[in-house]
Protein backbone atom coordinates (compact mmCIF):
# COMPACT_ATOMS: atom_id res chain seq x y z
CA UNK A 1 0.00 0.00 0.00
CA UNK A 2 1.30 3.40 -0.92
CA UNK A 3 -1.10 5.57 1.06
CA UNK A 4 1.04 8.66 1.25
CA UNK A 5 -0.49 11.27 3.52
CA UNK A 6 -0.35 14.63 1.87
CA UNK A 7 1.36 17.45 3.73
CA UNK A 8 -0.37 20.25 5.59
CA UNK A 9 -3.36 18.33 7.01
CA UNK A 10 -6.69 19.97 6.16
CA UNK A 11 -5.07 22.88 4.38
CA UNK A 12 -5.08 21.18 0.97
CA UNK A 13 -8.88 20.87 1.15
CA UNK A 14 -9.31 24.56 1.92
CA UNK A 15 -7.06 25.45 -1.00
CA UNK A 16 -8.97 23.08 -3.34
CA UNK A 17 -12.28 24.50 -2.13
CA UNK A 18 -11.02 28.03 -2.72
CA UNK A 19 -10.02 27.35 -6.35
CA UNK A 20 -13.27 25.53 -7.06
CA UNK A 21 -15.09 28.59 -5.74
CA UNK A 22 -12.98 31.00 -7.83
CA UNK A 23 -13.52 28.99 -11.03
CA UNK A 24 -17.29 28.83 -10.37
CA UNK A 25 -17.40 32.63 -10.01
CA UNK A 26 -15.43 32.98 -13.25
CA UNK A 27 -17.82 30.59 -15.00
CA UNK A 28 -20.89 32.62 -14.02
CA UNK A 29 -18.98 35.82 -14.80
CA UNK A 30 -18.10 34.82 -18.35
CA UNK A 31 -21.75 33.98 -19.04
CA UNK A 32 -22.88 37.40 -17.83
CA UNK A 33 -20.40 39.35 -20.00
CA UNK A 34 -21.15 38.60 -23.64
CA UNK A 35 -18.35 36.85 -25.48
CA UNK A 36 -18.45 35.01 -28.85
CA UNK A 37 -20.19 31.61 -28.61
CA UNK A 38 -17.12 29.55 -29.55
CA UNK A 39 -14.90 31.33 -27.02
CA UNK A 40 -17.61 30.92 -24.37
CA UNK A 41 -17.93 27.18 -25.04
CA UNK A 42 -14.17 26.63 -25.07
CA UNK A 43 -13.52 28.53 -21.84
CA UNK A 44 -16.49 26.95 -20.04
CA UNK A 45 -15.43 23.42 -20.97
CA UNK A 46 -11.82 24.19 -19.98
CA UNK A 47 -12.94 25.52 -16.60
CA UNK A 48 -15.22 22.51 -16.05
CA UNK A 49 -12.32 20.17 -16.77
CA UNK A 50 -10.12 22.13 -14.35
CA UNK A 51 -12.73 21.80 -11.62
CA UNK A 52 -13.14 18.10 -12.36
CA UNK A 53 -9.38 17.58 -12.17
CA UNK A 54 -9.21 19.40 -8.81
CA UNK A 55 -12.03 17.30 -7.35
CA UNK A 56 -10.67 13.98 -8.58
CA UNK A 57 -7.03 14.68 -7.70
CA UNK A 58 -7.43 16.21 -4.24
CA UNK A 59 -10.92 15.54 -2.86
CA UNK A 60 -11.03 12.00 -4.23
CA UNK A 61 -7.34 11.59 -3.47
CA UNK A 62 -6.55 10.02 -6.81
CA UNK A 63 -3.25 11.90 -7.03
CA UNK A 64 -1.96 9.89 -4.10
CA UNK A 65 -3.00 6.49 -5.43
CA UNK A 66 -0.95 4.02 -7.44
CA UNK A 67 -0.28 4.88 -11.05
CA UNK A 68 -2.23 1.91 -12.38
CA UNK A 69 -5.36 2.91 -10.43
CA UNK A 70 -5.03 6.41 -11.89
CA UNK A 71 -4.83 4.96 -15.41
CA UNK A 72 -7.70 2.56 -14.73
CA UNK A 73 -9.92 5.47 -13.69
CA UNK A 74 -8.87 8.01 -16.31
CA UNK A 75 -8.73 5.77 -19.43
CA UNK A 76 -12.48 4.94 -19.61
CA UNK A 77 -13.28 8.65 -19.57
CA UNK A 78 -11.99 8.84 -23.13
CA UNK A 79 -14.93 6.60 -24.07
CA UNK A 80 -17.18 9.52 -23.17
CA UNK A 81 -15.15 11.84 -25.39
CA UNK A 82 -15.21 9.31 -28.26
CA UNK A 83 -18.97 8.88 -27.83
CA UNK A 84 -19.46 12.63 -28.16
CA UNK A 85 -17.28 13.09 -31.22
CA UNK A 86 -18.73 9.98 -32.86
CA UNK A 87 -22.23 11.44 -32.66
CA UNK A 88 -21.55 15.09 -33.44
CA UNK A 89 -21.33 14.55 -37.26
CA UNK A 90 -24.79 12.95 -37.18
CA UNK A 91 -26.16 15.88 -35.19
CA UNK A 92 -24.69 18.40 -37.61
CA UNK A 93 -26.00 16.46 -40.59
CA UNK A 94 -29.50 16.40 -39.07
CA UNK A 95 -29.22 20.13 -38.56
CA UNK A 96 -28.22 20.69 -42.21
CA UNK A 97 -31.18 18.60 -43.38
CA UNK A 98 -33.72 20.76 -41.52
Amino acid sequence: MRQTEHPGGYRIYVVTWFWLFVITVLEVGIVLVHVPKVLLALSLVTMALMKAALIVAYFMHLRYERLNLIYAVVTPLFLGVILFFALVPDALRTLSLR
Partner: protein, 196 residues
Protein backbone atom coordinates in the same frame (compact mmCIF):
# COMPACT_ATOMS: atom_id res chain seq x y z
CA UNK B 1 8.81 2.58 -9.46
CA UNK B 2 7.16 1.41 -12.67
CA UNK B 3 7.83 -2.19 -11.78
CA UNK B 4 6.06 -1.81 -8.45
CA UNK B 5 3.19 0.11 -10.06
CA UNK B 6 2.55 -2.67 -12.56
CA UNK B 7 3.79 -5.51 -10.41
CA UNK B 8 0.38 -7.06 -9.70
CA UNK B 9 0.62 -9.38 -6.75
CA UNK B 10 -2.11 -9.73 -4.16
CA UNK B 11 -3.23 -6.10 -4.37
CA UNK B 12 -2.45 -4.81 -7.85
CA UNK B 13 -4.09 -1.43 -7.36
CA UNK B 14 -2.76 -0.89 -3.86
CA UNK B 15 -6.24 -0.34 -2.43
CA UNK B 16 -8.67 -2.63 -0.62
CA UNK B 17 -11.38 -4.29 -2.69
CA UNK B 18 -14.28 -2.22 -1.28
CA UNK B 19 -12.59 0.97 -2.44
CA UNK B 20 -11.70 -0.55 -5.81
CA UNK B 21 -15.34 -1.61 -6.28
CA UNK B 22 -16.50 1.92 -5.53
CA UNK B 23 -14.08 3.29 -8.13
CA UNK B 24 -15.35 0.79 -10.70
CA UNK B 25 -18.95 1.73 -9.90
CA UNK B 26 -18.11 5.41 -10.26
CA UNK B 27 -16.45 4.80 -13.63
CA UNK B 28 -19.58 3.13 -14.99
CA UNK B 29 -21.79 5.82 -13.45
CA UNK B 30 -19.62 8.45 -15.14
CA UNK B 31 -20.31 6.73 -18.45
CA UNK B 32 -24.06 6.77 -17.69
CA UNK B 33 -23.94 10.52 -17.20
CA UNK B 34 -21.66 10.88 -20.21
CA UNK B 35 -24.37 9.11 -22.23
CA UNK B 36 -27.08 11.43 -20.91
CA UNK B 37 -25.04 14.58 -21.50
CA UNK B 38 -23.94 13.43 -24.97
CA UNK B 39 -27.58 12.75 -25.85
CA UNK B 40 -28.41 16.25 -24.68
CA UNK B 41 -25.56 17.73 -26.72
CA UNK B 42 -26.58 15.87 -29.88
CA UNK B 43 -30.22 16.95 -29.49
CA UNK B 44 -29.19 20.53 -29.00
CA UNK B 45 -26.73 20.60 -31.90
CA UNK B 46 -29.17 18.93 -34.28
CA UNK B 47 -32.00 21.30 -33.37
CA UNK B 48 -29.86 24.39 -33.84
CA UNK B 49 -32.12 26.42 -31.54
CA UNK B 50 -32.49 26.31 -27.81
CA UNK B 51 -34.11 28.58 -25.21
CA UNK B 52 -31.73 31.04 -23.50
CA UNK B 53 -31.18 29.31 -20.14
CA UNK B 54 -30.36 32.56 -18.37
CA UNK B 55 -33.90 33.78 -19.11
CA UNK B 56 -35.54 30.57 -17.89
CA UNK B 57 -33.42 29.73 -14.84
CA UNK B 58 -32.05 31.93 -12.12
CA UNK B 59 -28.30 31.59 -12.71
CA UNK B 60 -27.49 33.10 -9.31
CA UNK B 61 -29.55 30.41 -7.58
CA UNK B 62 -27.90 27.67 -9.62
CA UNK B 63 -24.48 29.23 -8.94
CA UNK B 64 -25.30 29.18 -5.24
CA UNK B 65 -26.37 25.52 -5.48
CA UNK B 66 -22.99 24.79 -7.06
CA UNK B 67 -21.26 26.66 -4.24
CA UNK B 68 -23.17 24.64 -1.61
CA UNK B 69 -22.16 21.39 -3.29
CA UNK B 70 -18.50 22.46 -3.41
CA UNK B 71 -18.65 23.31 0.30
CA UNK B 72 -20.22 19.95 1.13
CA UNK B 73 -17.45 18.22 -0.83
CA UNK B 74 -14.85 20.11 1.23
CA UNK B 75 -16.51 19.14 4.53
CA UNK B 76 -16.64 15.53 3.30
CA UNK B 77 -12.92 15.62 2.55
CA UNK B 78 -12.27 16.85 6.10
CA UNK B 79 -14.45 14.05 7.51
CA UNK B 80 -12.41 11.47 5.58
CA UNK B 81 -9.10 12.93 6.77
CA UNK B 82 -10.38 13.04 10.35
CA UNK B 83 -11.44 9.38 10.13
CA UNK B 84 -7.96 8.41 9.04
CA UNK B 85 -6.50 10.29 12.00
CA UNK B 86 -8.96 8.74 14.42
CA UNK B 87 -10.60 12.03 15.39
CA UNK B 88 -13.99 10.43 15.95
CA UNK B 89 -16.10 13.44 16.95
CA UNK B 90 -14.83 15.52 14.00
CA UNK B 91 -15.90 12.76 11.62
CA UNK B 92 -19.51 12.85 12.84
CA UNK B 93 -19.62 16.65 12.87
CA UNK B 94 -18.34 17.02 9.33
CA UNK B 95 -20.42 14.13 7.97
CA UNK B 96 -23.53 15.86 9.32
CA UNK B 97 -22.39 19.18 7.84
CA UNK B 98 -22.04 17.40 4.49
CA UNK B 99 -25.55 15.96 4.86
CA UNK B 100 -26.82 19.46 5.62
CA UNK B 101 -25.20 20.73 2.41
CA UNK B 102 -26.81 17.91 0.45
CA UNK B 103 -30.23 18.69 1.94
CA UNK B 104 -29.84 22.41 1.16
CA UNK B 105 -28.96 21.52 -2.42
CA UNK B 106 -31.99 19.23 -2.73
CA UNK B 107 -34.24 21.92 -1.23
CA UNK B 108 -33.07 24.47 -3.81
CA UNK B 109 -33.48 21.94 -6.58
CA UNK B 110 -37.03 21.22 -5.43
CA UNK B 111 -37.70 24.97 -5.50
CA UNK B 112 -36.24 25.23 -9.00
CA UNK B 113 -38.31 22.33 -10.30
CA UNK B 114 -41.48 23.78 -8.71
CA UNK B 115 -40.79 27.13 -10.32
CA UNK B 116 -40.04 25.53 -13.70
CA UNK B 117 -43.21 23.39 -13.58
CA UNK B 118 -45.19 26.43 -12.43
CA UNK B 119 -44.12 28.22 -15.61
CA UNK B 120 -45.66 25.42 -17.63
CA UNK B 121 -42.78 23.02 -18.18
CA UNK B 122 -43.76 19.36 -18.46
CA UNK B 123 -41.61 16.37 -19.33
CA UNK B 124 -42.27 16.62 -23.09
CA UNK B 125 -43.98 20.00 -23.48
CA UNK B 126 -43.06 23.51 -22.43
CA UNK B 127 -43.85 27.13 -23.35
CA UNK B 128 -40.41 27.71 -24.91
CA UNK B 129 -41.18 25.78 -28.07
CA UNK B 130 -38.46 23.13 -27.80
CA UNK B 131 -40.06 20.03 -26.20
CA UNK B 132 -36.72 18.32 -25.60
CA UNK B 133 -35.51 21.31 -23.58
CA UNK B 134 -37.61 20.42 -20.55
CA UNK B 135 -37.15 16.68 -21.20
CA UNK B 136 -33.37 16.88 -21.01
CA UNK B 137 -33.56 19.23 -18.02
CA UNK B 138 -35.87 16.97 -15.99
CA UNK B 139 -34.10 13.73 -16.90
CA UNK B 140 -30.54 14.93 -16.28
CA UNK B 141 -31.09 17.05 -13.16
CA UNK B 142 -33.53 14.41 -11.90
CA UNK B 143 -30.96 11.68 -12.33
CA UNK B 144 -28.38 13.78 -10.52
CA UNK B 145 -30.86 14.72 -7.77
CA UNK B 146 -31.55 11.03 -7.22
CA UNK B 147 -27.79 10.55 -6.76
CA UNK B 148 -27.69 13.36 -4.19
CA UNK B 149 -30.66 11.87 -2.32
CA UNK B 150 -29.02 8.45 -2.27
CA UNK B 151 -25.81 10.14 -1.09
CA UNK B 152 -27.59 11.84 1.81
CA UNK B 153 -28.97 8.47 2.96
CA UNK B 154 -25.56 6.83 2.44
CA UNK B 155 -23.81 9.53 4.53
CA UNK B 156 -26.39 9.37 7.32
CA UNK B 157 -25.97 5.62 7.51
CA UNK B 158 -22.17 6.02 7.45
CA UNK B 159 -22.33 8.57 10.31
CA UNK B 160 -24.54 6.25 12.34
CA UNK B 161 -22.31 3.26 11.79
CA UNK B 162 -19.19 5.30 12.55
CA UNK B 163 -20.77 6.56 15.80
CA UNK B 164 -21.40 2.95 16.82
CA UNK B 165 -17.84 1.99 15.97
CA UNK B 166 -18.91 -0.53 13.34
CA UNK B 167 -16.83 0.73 10.41
CA UNK B 168 -13.21 1.44 9.56
CA UNK B 169 -11.88 4.76 8.21
CA UNK B 170 -11.81 3.16 4.76
CA UNK B 171 -15.63 3.02 4.73
CA UNK B 172 -15.82 6.76 5.38
CA UNK B 173 -13.35 7.30 2.56
CA UNK B 174 -15.48 5.19 0.18
CA UNK B 175 -18.60 7.16 1.11
CA UNK B 176 -16.51 10.26 0.42
CA UNK B 177 -15.62 9.02 -3.06
CA UNK B 178 -19.31 8.68 -3.86
CA UNK B 179 -20.11 12.14 -2.54
CA UNK B 180 -17.28 13.83 -4.46
CA UNK B 181 -18.49 12.05 -7.57
CA UNK B 182 -21.93 13.65 -7.13
CA UNK B 183 -20.18 17.03 -6.96
CA UNK B 184 -18.07 16.12 -10.00
CA UNK B 185 -21.10 15.29 -12.13
CA UNK B 186 -22.73 18.55 -11.10
CA UNK B 187 -19.72 20.47 -12.44
CA UNK B 188 -20.58 19.22 -15.93
CA UNK B 189 -24.36 19.56 -15.55
CA UNK B 190 -23.92 23.12 -14.31
CA UNK B 191 -21.64 23.97 -17.23
CA UNK B 192 -23.46 22.20 -20.05
CA UNK B 193 -27.11 22.56 -19.01
CA UNK B 194 -27.16 26.00 -17.45
CA UNK B 195 -24.18 28.02 -18.64
CA UNK B 196 -23.40 26.95 -22.18
Amino acid sequence: MLASDWGGGRSPFGVGWPKLMMWLFLIQDTLTFAGLLTGYGVIRLSLGRWPVQGEVFNLYLVGFMTFILICSSATMAVAVAAARRGEGATVIRFLLLTVLGGLAFLGMQAYEWTHFIGEGARLFTNPWGVPLFSASFFIITGFHGAHVSAGVIYLLSTARRWARGRIQPESVEIAGLYWHFVDLVWVFIFTLLYLL
